[in-house]
């Protein structure tokens, strides 16, 4: 689909853009509609700074899981065990901190290392032994659910007293002490983000012009920049007027930047897309398919451990029910975010949008006091509609 700014008018270009990118736009439209709907239904409660902070804290662990899941799904595998791996790792961290009194700053890397080991074990079964990922991780679901219960058998729910640990999912970044009412550091970070976004978009555009690739016309490009800047600043203002940026957002942001860079700019990222697109071709092109798959499972379980830490910190306690249904939210996030059901396609940035869709639904329905059973039904329906829409638009694109 060629968009040539010399020949076509802006109107036509926008229609063409809508047509070719409808899949991606749909996701944003859905998110905005959901947000408007809940804001209306909760008389503005949904969009209040307090709730948005809350939403971010709620969505954090799902976003972390969903990013790892994106890799796994691109590779045409699946990981069902992430929920209980997260639950188990959360429980272990609680035991280590309360029973053994180890500092949280040692416990967190330690628990992530445990996640890595779990990933090694599952990756080994999938790549070396040849057990399908579905079976391996279904077995993992059993195993880690059992281990979670065993870990907390003697103690029951553990309340965590460590302030630093609990701040991870409940705290906010400190402010520069200027004595102003608004959160200055938050504003500063927002401004830096906007400048960086604009600079990198302009750089990409110039590069594309240099190589004579098709670009959006200037008005479309500028309105896109304006739109993105507005959104970022809006959220930043909202947060700055409350308590600032939550630590959860920082954690998710760091993981997002690393994974996005890895997928788009590095050899490893290419290999992941290559294997997902055509495994045999990838292998015959000299790609170490097993190694890359192994790495993806390790990254998944390590992120699951991190998600477990975030969830435990959020509740300020470890419970035997932690982890129930996490994998569903994570998988749904990735698919709503546009990972292809047939593998080979997907972006972590879009997965985050998918997470926001799913978690806005949860958050909004909680605010409205919708019964949890109905919540499952609604989320299921949205999920299947998103995937159905995805499959249809992709097959048309042929």
């Amino acid at each position: 689909m060629e968009v040539n700014n010399q020949k076509v008018g802006i109107g036509k270009e926008i229609i063409c853009l809508m047509k070719t990118n409808i899949r991606e736009y749909m996701m944003y439209i859905a998110l905005v509609l959901i947000m408007i709907f809940f804001t209306w239904k909760t008389h503005g409660g949904f969009i209040q700074a307090r709730n948005i902070s809350n939403l971010i804290n709620q969505a954090g662990y799902v976003a972390i899981l969903a990013m790892g899941m994106t890799l796994i799904l691109i590779l045409k595998h699946i990981d069902l065990s992430v929920g209980y791996v997260a639950g188990f790792c959360g429980a272990v961290s609680a035991i280590l901190m309360t029973k053994y009194g180890i500092s949280e700053w040692i416990v967190i890397p330690l628990v992530i290392a445990i996640g890595l080991l779990i990933g090694l074990y599952q990756g080994f079964l999938v790549t070396k032994v040849g057990v399908p990922a579905f079976v391996t991780t279904l077995a993992g679901m059993f195993i880690f659910r059992g281990l979670l219960n065993l870990t907390l058998q003697n103690t029951g729910t553990i309340i965590i007293p460590n302030k630093g640990f609990n701040a991870l999912s409940n705290g906010f970044i400190p402010d520069i002490p200027l004595g102003m009412e608004i959160h200055v550091l938050t504003l500063l970070i927002g401004a830096i983000a906007v400048v960086y976004m604009i600079a990198s978009e302009v750089k990409i555009r110039n590069n594309r012009t240099k190589y004579q690739f098709t670009n959006h016309s200037k008005p479309v490009f500028l309105s896109k920049l304006l739109f993105l800047s507005t959104i970022i600043m809006l959220i930043v203002f909202l947060l700055a007027n409350y308590s600032g940026i939550p630590w959860t957002a920082v954690t998710v942001g760091i993981v997002l930047i690393i994974y996005n860079y890895m997928l788009n700019k590095t050899k490893l990222g290419r290999y992941i897309y290559g294997i997902g697109g055509n495994e045999q071709a990838a292998e015959l092109s000299g790609i170490n398919v097993k190694g890359v798959t192994m790495l993806a499972f390790c990254s998944m379980s390590a992120l699951a451990a991190l998600a477990g830490v975030l969830y435990t910190s959020r509740l300020q306690s470890a419970t035997p029910t932690a982890g129930l249904g996490f994998e569903l939210d994570a998988i749904a996030s990735a698919y709503i975010g546009g990972v292809a059901v047939s593998g080979g396609i997907g972006r972590v940035t879009n997965t985050i949008i998918g997470t926001l869709v799913i978690m806005s639904l949860t958050n909004g329905m909680n605010l409205m006091g919708v019964d949890i059973s109905y919540q499952y039904v609604v989320k299921g329906i949205i999920f299947v509609i998103a995937v159905a829409f995805d499959v249809r638009t992709r097959s048309k694109g042929r």
């Binding site: 590069n207 690739f213 290419r270 897309y273 697109g277 092109s285 170490n288 080979g344």
Partner: protein, 508 residues
């Protein structure tokens, strides 16, 4: 007076953005073998899909007169009811079902509410007899070779009481022997009154079998040649297909000196652990710098298995004996990665299944096998990548609007060029090309041959696996013939001819 079984008049079919068929007229006489030829993308398959109801009436313009009546087929079932049966290039049999289940799949013989299996088996046996396939109808399709599966497809068509049989490249996947069998069968069907439309790229078969040849080019009918009235040669057909004279199908190489031996196999013996038997026996071959060595043989002779066992052995064969030397060094590769590092490359025969990542673009596919050279550490130098992909696109004439074009939207010939670009970027010492021109049109073939000539001129060694005899004879400096897992003959280009090569290829 001519009796036409089928007249397609001024057929036009448009896809979004492309006019696939433009006012095409196509007439088939009753009881003839009518060959439909044209380059890839000329509209042959689209025309047949219009005929068989895949594109239902209303989605195209023009009319179809079949058996003297204007027809408006809405589905494949409609056309099959009228005796029009199409057999696609990719066979539509179900591997895990038996032959008789496959033959009557979709039009089961019923006794009341249940399937009459006895009758089915008896009838299947008769249908198989008609196609001269002497096997038990109870065996599973997956246990048959491609050639025999093709015959089962025809048996299936016969069971539907076919009047007009359409074959889409029926011999593309068959070796010489099976092809001959199939062509013989088609002739016999003709005598029994079945009219046959055959789409094919193999001009030699066409000239041997066709009563009439219709040439399509760019969605339009170029001409209809009556082979009974006037003798038609391959070059006549090519002229109409490409719209210009093609003096040489195989571009000549300037005589050049070969260097030292760059690749050699000594007594290479391989066992397939699944089949539990030896599949390659004491293979001895070598290739010199700057030489194109053909590896000719029928399908199933073990050529692809040989290539895969050399190239990192992804199929996990047991290499039970023998040695491999690459640039004088003894080697044994444990993965394609090892092999590529040492300067060996393999271009798969199955470009869609094992060669390209179809959902990615030209750039992605061009660089995927050699990202090392674009990185220091992990990060890819994207500017350099774009430059390289563009260079290759221009140098080997990949026809696409930009290197951001998805590979699945390219024609077969251009896909093949992307595959070649990928391996040229790796720049190996020894390149194994497995059926490099399968399923691509004459024009693109010529370009690929020219490219091969340029590569050997630069000192690369090429092993070309092919089942097309003329290609093997036309392109090789030297030729090995394989049969049933063993090398049965070796010829210099000037010694080889169709007879002595074929004699070795069917030797067991």
């Amino acid at each position: 007076m001519n009796d036409y079984i089928l007249e397609m008049n001024s057929i036009s079919k448009t896809f979004p953005g492309v006019k696939a068929l433009n006012n095409v007229s196509f007439k088939v006489k009753r009881g003839e073998i009518h060959c439909l030829v044209g380059e890839n993308g000329a509209g042959k398959s689209t025309l047949m899909k219009v005929l068989s109801g895949v594109y239902p009436h209303g989605e195209y313009l023009g009319d179809i007169v079949y058996n003297g009546r204007t027809q408006q087929f809405k589905t494949i079932a409609d056309s099959e009811k009228n005796g029009v049966v199409i057999i696609y290039q990719e066979l539509a049999l179900i591997p895990e079902l038996s032959l008789y289940e496959n033959i009557y799949f979709g039009h089961e013989i019923m006794k009341g509410k249940v399937i009459d299996w006895n009758e089915t088996i008896v009838n299947s046996r008769e249908m198989l007899k008609k196609v001269k396939l002497d096997v038990n109808p109870s065996i599973k399709v997956k246990n048959l070779g491609v050639g025999h599966q093709q015959l089962v497809e025809i048996a299936k068509a016969l069971s539907k009481d076919v009047k007009l049989l359409i074959l889409d490249e029926p011999t593309a996947a068959l070796h010489e022997h099976d092809s001959q069998n199939l062509l013989k069968l088609i002739k016999q069907l003709k005598e029994q009154g079945v009219t046959c439309i055959m789409i094919s790229h193999k001009l030699k078969e066409i000239t041997a079998i066709a009563d009439t040849i219709t040439v399509l080019r760019d969605g339009a009918t170029i001409c209809s040649l009556d082979c009974q009235e006037q003798h038609t040669t391959e070059s006549d057909i090519i002229k109409h297909m490409v719209g210009r004279e093609m003096d040489h199908i195989y571009p000549k190489r300037k005589n050049h000196e070969f260097g030292e031996i760059s690749f050699e196999l000594k007594d290479w013996t391989v066992e397939d652990p699944i089949k539990g038997r030896e599949i390659l026996h004491n293979i001895n071959i070598n290739v010199r710098k700057g030489e194109i060595v053909g590896l000719q043989g029928l399908m199933g002779a073990g050529r692809t298995e040989l290539a895969l066992s050399i190239f990192g052995n992804t199929t996990k064969y047991n290499i039970t004996g023998g040695e491999m030397f690459l640039s004088g060094k003894k080697q044994m590769f444990r993965s394609p990665k090892d092999a590529i590092k040492s300067g060996l490359a393999y271009v798969s025969e199955d470009r869609k299944g094992k060669g390209l990542v179809l959902i990615q673009d030209i750039k992605f596919n061009t660089t995927i096998a050699n990202l090392e050279s674009l990185t220091d550490g992990q990060t890819i130098n994207e500017n350099e990548e774009i430059r390289i992909a563009n260079d290759f696109k221009n140098a080997i004439n990949i026809k696409a609007p930009s290197i951001e074009q998805k590979v699945r939207n390219l024609s077969g010939g251009n896909q093949q060029k992307v595959q070649l670009a990928k391996w040229m970027f790796v720049n190996p010492n020894v390149l194994i090309l497995d059926e490099p021109t399968r399923g691509i049109d004459v024009g693109a073939k010529f370009e690929i041959y020219t490219l091969m000539n340029e590569l050997v001129k630069k000192g690369m060694s090429i092993i070309m696996i092919t089942s097309e005899l003329p290609e093997a004879l036309g392109m090789s400096d030297r030729l090995y013939v394989m049969s049933e897992g063993a090398i049965t003959g070796e010829f210099l280009a000037e010694e080889a001819n169709e007879h002595n090569v074929m004699a070795m290829a069917i030797k067991s």
